[in-house]
Amino acid sequence: MTSTARRVAVLGGSRIPFARQNGPYAKASNQDMLTSVLDSVTTKFGLEGQALGEVVAGAVLKHSRDFNLTRESVLGSKLASETPAYDVQQACGTGLEAAILLANKIALGQVDAGIAGGVDTTSDAPLVLGEDLRNLLLDLSRAKSNASRLRLLAKFRPQQLVPAIPRNAEPRTGLSMGEHAALMASQWGIAREEQDELVVRSHHNLAAAYDSGWLDDLVIPYLGLERDQNLRPDSTVEKLAKLRPVFGGPEGTMTAGNSTPLSDGSAAVLLASEAWAAERGLPVQAYLTAAQTAAVDHVHKREGLLMAPAYAVPTMLDRAGVTLQDFDFYEIHEAFASQVLCTLKAWEDPVFCRERLHREAPLGAIDREKLNVHGGSLGAGHPFGATGGRIVAGLAKALAERGSGRGLISICAAGGLGVTAIMEASQ
């Protein structure tokens, strides 16, 4: 057993273009899309037929039959079938958490290399029997006599056939994530225009990354889609201003434009020990050097549902011995433009930093020019499980190009969760 942690190298990754719900991937399953990105990573690094230490991935919206989604995807991929695999599920933090779990095993010497990823489809979504019908059918299966079976069947009503559609709502508050984000926007006084400006930047940065060819080796066309379907290169604040609010009531500030749409897609990254990469002559793009999760009480203490990263990051910075300003790239997942702005304001706010983070001074502002420089979820879309892989792969490439520096990843997730990480260039 090794006594010291090994450095965890990020060698690269890839994803498929993200599609809007019921778009080109309407008929693609989670397993189809995950298998596809596993194959593109395998091909990219010449790993066909090889067994890796493990593959870790997950999806947020899953069919019950997909209890072993990642393993089944590996079996259908070009990797050797002897590659172990398991699923993780941590809402929108799934993809990054998968990378952290794999990185930890690499650091501890339990695994030398593996692929972390995630996938989600909101089109091929599971439908569930209504609770009444489900109970009726279960009772029926337990019934011992025909008479009791008949009595149970007499309870059947046609409206019980209507399936329970999985809702994008917090179980303990009944509010949708958008409604929670609207509460946060209101709490933090986030104006409509600030949000729309962030949206425009996200679209323009992503469009520029496509136009310059920067994304060519990161995004692999799939089912006829070459770019993210949600991308609006010609987005402007004026156009966005025409959209009507969808969350937070008629006076709300949140629209379909400044919230991420439901989307489909997948992403994966290859992580390894330095030795493993060197043996194969694979260049190291970046190192995953720190990670931190946090959770907030959005139920009883009424903290904003998506504020957990605001707590996780300061803890991680302290442990890493760096400040919020010591970064060259900030990858803050844009679940909603308001979420990003609330997080940034929280770090700048003396009251939040003192009352919630128990810090003498605020963390301060970041250089907005370094924020989501190759686009974010508002432009690309946000298949829940795939976002972590998209960000890790993109940040690794950006750090490799720069040749030095540090990047911060911050992802908010349902249930009041936050998953964050630091990556550093290989020097």
Partner: protein
């Protein structure tokens, strides 16, 4: 004493009629009940950059446990954090119209030129219509006489006009005040902010208060019983406003020594007995009354902490018809007696450290009332009394209240036309209650009001007379 008009307009039909016809619409004012928090709704704290009072205000709001928001303004957020105030954020551009406040508090002490008065507009313009029923506006500033430059003094003086005009616009039982805090006296704002935020100041509006250097060091204040262990003398305590003063001071923990004329002995004993206080009878115009009062306080209590000169009479006649007796009775009771009593107490050093002298003036003393030359003279003299003693007294504060139309037996006996005029001609469109005067006196009396001296605060619902 009941205001039937107010009751009528507050019925469902009455509300419709008053609105259609444009009649005055006196709202039912919220009044303080023991045990309730100082403020019953969210507070918005704003500040002009460069001010020095936001931190002190934030500390008070934190101490109250109020739900507070501030604009996202760095110096203000730092002040809030420094005061341990867990304040939310308010952005008028993003806030829905249903976001309302029970109180707006603006630190305007940073406004040092007339050009910068627009910063008060910037804070108040998007928020003034978000003030709830019986809400509060408190503007904090620097006394013009303490300002560094003429431009600053002018701007700070201008705030008076702003606050008084808002008092008349704001409606729905809401009030507006300006609190001038001398540099260095920032820590002394708590008792005053608590009073003006709370329903205790229900009938006080459009007032300007000055807080200066405290006459005593800061002690711990029990805000539920600030006068615990204190002895308070209240003259004219048998009924009306005096009885209400005795009740409120006793509620705040004081042992009340009620004083009234021998003819009122039974009524007086009933008032003080119910309060666990004590009573003494005397005619305060008697030559030996001051000595007797001093002896009583010396023997029974070893001194006194709070002296409330409430006893007063009217003897109305136009000057040409007024006998000298009518003139002299009013001056003797209302103006000369308080001075003689104080003289006796001061000479024997019976007013204890951090003591309080509180007089009751009247709007009549500010505006002058026809038929009340004697009364107006005496009550204007009381204002002079405050000015003269506040400067000279060292370990006591000296202040006065000036009641406007207060619903008492005296006003109930007025002719209906005069009574209705008195009731309606103020920003709150109604008369005050004796307790409103008593609450203002209790604010002065609080040991935490050690920097509040030389003030004459009107309890008049911002009467249109003499405004």
């Amino acid at each position: 004493m009941s205001d039937r008009y107010q009751q009528l307009v507050n019925t469902p039909i009455g509300r419709i009629v008053t609105k259609q016809v444009g009649l005055p619409n006196p709202p039912k004012l919220e009044r303080y009940e023991p045990g309730q928090p100082p403020i019953s709704g969210p507070v918005l704290l704003g500040a002009a950059p460069g001010g020095r009072l936001a931190g002190a205000a934030a500390a008070v709001l934190a101490s109250i446990g109020a739900e507070v928001s501030t604009p996202m303004q760095d110096d203000l957020r730092k002040a809030a954090a420094g005061a341990g105030l867990d304040a939310g954020i308010f952005n008028s551009e993003a806030a829905p119209s249903e976001k309302t406040f029970k109180a707006l508090v603006l630190d305007a002490s940073g406004i040092d030129s007339s050009e910068r008065l627009v910063e008060a507009w910037e804070f108040l313009h998007p928020t003034i219509r978000r003030v709830r029923t019986c809400g509060r506006l408190i503007v904090l500033g620097t006394p013009p006489e303490d300002c560094g430059s003429p431009a600053e003094a002018i701007a700070q003086r201008a705030l008076e006009g702003l606050v008084r005009a808002i008092g008349k616009e704001i409606k729905k039982g809401a009030t507006a005040q300006l609190v001038y805090v001398r540099p260095g006296a920032e820590a002394g704002v708590e008792s005053t902010l608590r009073f003006f935020l709370s329903p205790k100041s229900a009938y006080v509006s459009g007032q300007v208060v000055r807080i200066g250097a405290p006459i005593a060091g800061p002690g711990q204040t029990d805000w539920d019983r600030p006068l615990g262990g204190k002895v308070a003398l209240v003259t004219g305590a048998a009924r009306g406003i005096g009885a209400a003063i005795a009740e409120v001071l006793a509620r705040d923990g004081a042992h009340v020594v009620g004083l009234d004329v021998p003819a009122m002995a039974d009524e007086l004993a009933a008032v003080t007995g119910a309060l666990g206080g004590s009573s003494m009878t005397a005619d305060i115009t008697d030559a030996d009354a001051p000595a007797a009062i001093a002896a009583h306080l010396q023997q029974r209590h070893g001194g006194v902490d709070v002296v409330v000169h409430n006893a007063g009479v009217t003897r109305d006649k136009t000057l040409g018809r007024m006998s000298q007796e009518l003139w002299s009775t009013v001056i003797a009771i209302n103006l000369t007696a308080p001075q003689r009593i104080d003289q006796a107490l001061f000479e024997q050093e019976l007013v204890r450290e951090n003591g309080r002298i509180i007089a009751v003036s009247s709007i009549s003393g500010i505006t002058g009332n026809a038929g009340q030359t004697n009364y107006s003279t005496s009550k204007a003299g009381v204002i002079g009394f405050v000015g003269a003693w506040a400067e000279r007294a060292e370990h006591v504060t000296v202040n006065a209240v000036a009641p406007g139309f207060i619903e008492t037996r005296m006003t109930a006996a007025m002719p209906i036309a005069m009574r209705e005029a008195g009731r309606r001609m103020n920003s709150l469109s109604q008369g005050g209650l004796p307790v409103d005067v008593a609450e203002a006196i209790a604010w002065y009396a609080s040991p935490a009001s050690a920097g509040v001296t030389g003030n004459v605060v009107r309890v008049c619902g911002q009467s249109l007379l003499g405004a």
